[in-house]
């Protein structure tokens, strides 16, 4: 969780831009072994997690899953998150990604689904959770990913969106999710993956971002935190590593920007949406 109270925000003239300062002694190399140990030990604390995800599609009831997702699509093409009916573009992405992995994308009304997502596009090129909602990097990732899966990336104004995305980069090198928010390592994924999908990854200062992500590591426990010095957790560890992969980190396997999964896994099931080059 971003700790907003750490940033000084005083309404005086010459207010410094909200950002973090990376200390000179912050980690600057990838501590792979430490992270492996961290994840392994996290797995032993069975009270702290609900589920471990494996590469085992054969154990799930594909038809049931497809039926369930179909039942969540509304007339306007949007998707609810569950039977209680909350609409959010994140659910459009979840629906499309799930069905794409199962090879059942045609089970939903794709055209209507696309229409709804596009109705969430804003003047700044970004996307919100519902039509009229504020652009948000997380929602942008979901909508861009959705459009990649449904082969509709050409509907995006990539220069406009790319511009909004690279404005997320702060002097520290980290990325935030919206204007005047603190940087957070998970946005290194949401923003970076979006840039990759629309072919604008080079618009970010990659070296500075890499420094920021590495600074979010905890040298003692392993794992990544949302920003340097904070408590680590698996969520930010995943996105820190995935972000580094997109930046070309050699020690890490190639990660697909749409699904946040290893490319070799997706290659095997032949699910690799075309991206903007």
């Amino acid at each position: 969780m971003p700790r907003e109270d750490n940033a000084s925000l005083v309404l005086l003239q010459g207010t410094p831009q909200k950002d973090v300062v990376i200390k000179p002694d912050a980690p600057s190399t990838l501590l792979s072994e430490k992270h492996a140990d961290y994840i392994a030990s996290y797995g032993t604390k069975k009270d702290d997690y609900i589920l471990i995800l494996y590469e085992s599609l054969h154990v799930v009831d594909v038809n049931k899953i497809v039926e369930y997702i179909q039942s969540l699509q509304k007339e306007d093409g949007s998707f609810a998150g569950d039977k209680w009916g909350e609409i959010d573009t994140r659910f459009s992405f979840c629906a499309a990604a799930t069905l794409a992995l199962l090879g059942k994308l045609d089970a939903i009304d794709v055209e209507k689904a696309v229409e709804f997502v596009l109705s969430c596009m804003n003047f700044d090129g970004g996307f919100g959770c519902r039509p009229g909602s504020e652009s948000h990097a997380g929602q942008i990732y979901c909508c861009t990913g959705f459009l990649a899966i449904t082969d509709q990336l050409h509907q995006i104004n990539v220069d406009l969106l790319g511009w909004w995305l690279c404005e997320r980069q702060l002097p520290s090198g980290g990325l935030n999710g919206r204007p005047e928010k603190l940087p957070d390592v998970c946005y290194s994924w949401w923003v970076l993956a979006s840039l990759k999908m629309i072919g604008r990854l080079h618009w970010i200062d990659r070296e500075k971002l890499r420094c920021f992500i590495l600074a979010c590591q905890d040298e003692e426990t392993g794992g990544f935190a949302d920003r340097p010095g904070d408590m680590v957790d698996p969520f930010h560890t995943l996105f820190g590593i995935a972000g580094l992969s997109l930046l070309g980190e050699e020690q890490i396997k190639a990660v697909n920007p749409v699904f946040c999964m290893p490319e070799d896994v997706l290659r095997r099931i032949n699910v690799q949406p075309e991206l903007v080059s």
Binding site: Q13, C129, H154, I156, R200, H202
Partner: protein, 355 residues
């Protein structure tokens, strides 16, 4: 749980913190569906929870579900459903909306740039209330002071952008479908009762042609004041982009949705091109967005100024004034960030509005 003493505020407040939030919220849904817990009481419960957890996504999501239940209740014949408050449905809806505006406002004050609170506020106007001119103008008026005290709150300013954009939508619709508006507000998804239609007619009398340009001008001036008073706030510059875009759009009277399918290309296409094109870009290098690179040396981050053919000037007032404003800021400001944002704004204008 049928015993109402259980819903003592303090007890409820502690309950919020103690139970695993998701499961507790699930229980509340079951209680509402079985008629044991009244939706209004549950909204009160949620309001308390938000004082401690102003961001809590589950609380906002559940709140929308409860409001949906109330809206459905409202659709029953007025005879059967005199309502919890014993007032006409339209009045009840109005009170509900006002209450939600207050709840959102409080939560927005408790957590900076509270996306969940502000997006809920928008949802309420779109799904519970009506996007009438009166409502939109009231909200513009009632949030003005708040945003001036929270100049970093991008969500707050975005809310005003939503209101202004909705006003433009209303103006366009009003001009085109005045007769239909007199029959009721067909833009809104909430159900119409006879009472509401009468109310809508009365409202329609006020809703003559709203001078939307006036409100946009006012907003731009408001933005100018804040930019001058509080240098170095990206939110204010983002707000300016939107207000200027809305003015530009309005002047050009182009459909808003044409923004969705355009791309910046080698031709004279502006942001408003409605023909979908495969996206191409001339940018082989890193995008020099903020001008900081001109004065700093960033390794591995090369500069490239984008060259574009300019679209024909359709409006000579807007962009000229903006350039003058930007130049004025650049020549008088002493804040590095302010200069950076002003420069970025100019580049944005040039690049995307073809000005």
């Amino acid at each position: 749980f049928a015993d109402h003493s259980v819903w003592d505020s303090w007890f409820v407040f502690r309950l919020c913190s103690l139970f695993k939030k998701n499961y507790f919220i699930f229980c509340r849904k079951e209680l509402i569906l079985s008629g044991t817990l009244s939706p209004l009481k549950d909204l009160h419960l949620g309001k308390l929870a938000l004082t401690k957890f102003p961001k809590s996504p589950e609380t906002w999501i559940h709140r929308r579900w409860v409001l949906q239940q109330l809206i459905q209740e409202n659709s029953l014949p007025a005879v059967v459903n005199k309502g919890n408050l014993g007032v006409a449905p339209a009045e009840r809806i109005h009170r509900l909306v006002q209450e939600e505006m207050d709840v959102c406002s409080e939560a927005a004050g408790r957590y900076p740039s509270n996306y969940n609170a502000w997006s809920h506020r928008i949802w309420v106007l779109q799904n519970v209330g009506k996007l009438t001119t009166k409502v939109l103008l009231d909200e513009l008026s009632s949030t003005k002071y708040w945003v001036s005290m929270h100049v970093s709150d991008h969500s707050g300013f975005h809310y005003r952008q939503f209101l202004l954009k909705s006003l433009i939508g209303r103006t366009v619709n009003d001009n085109n479908t005045l007769v239909q508006n007199q029959m009721g507000n067909e833009q809104n998804s909430s159900l119409q009762t006879e009472e509401e239609c009468e109310g809508a007619e009365a409202v329609c009398v006020e809703e003559q042609s709203v001078d939307i340009s006036h409100y946009l001008e006012e907003e731009l001036d408001f933005c100018t004041d804040l930019i001058d008073t509080y240098p170095g706030h990206e939110t204010l510059w983002c707000h300016r982009r939107c207000v200027f875009y809305l003015q530009h759009h309005l002047i050009n009277k182009l459909p808003l949705l044409s923004v969705a399918a355009s791309s910046v290309d080698s031709s004279d296409e502006t942001l408003y091109n409605s023909h979908p094109n495969p996206t191409t870009s001339h940018m082989a290098q890193v995008m020099d967005v903020d001008g900081l690179n001109e004065s700093s040396s960033k390794q591995g981050y090369t500069q490239e100024t984008k060259r574009l053919k300019r679209a024909p000037m359709q409006d000579s007032f807007g962009p000229e004034m903006e350039y003058r404003f930007i130049d004025k800021v650049l020549s008088t400001c002493r804040d590095v960030d302010q200069a950076r944002f002003a420069t970025a704004y100019r580049k944005w204008l040039v690049t995307f509005l073809g000005q």
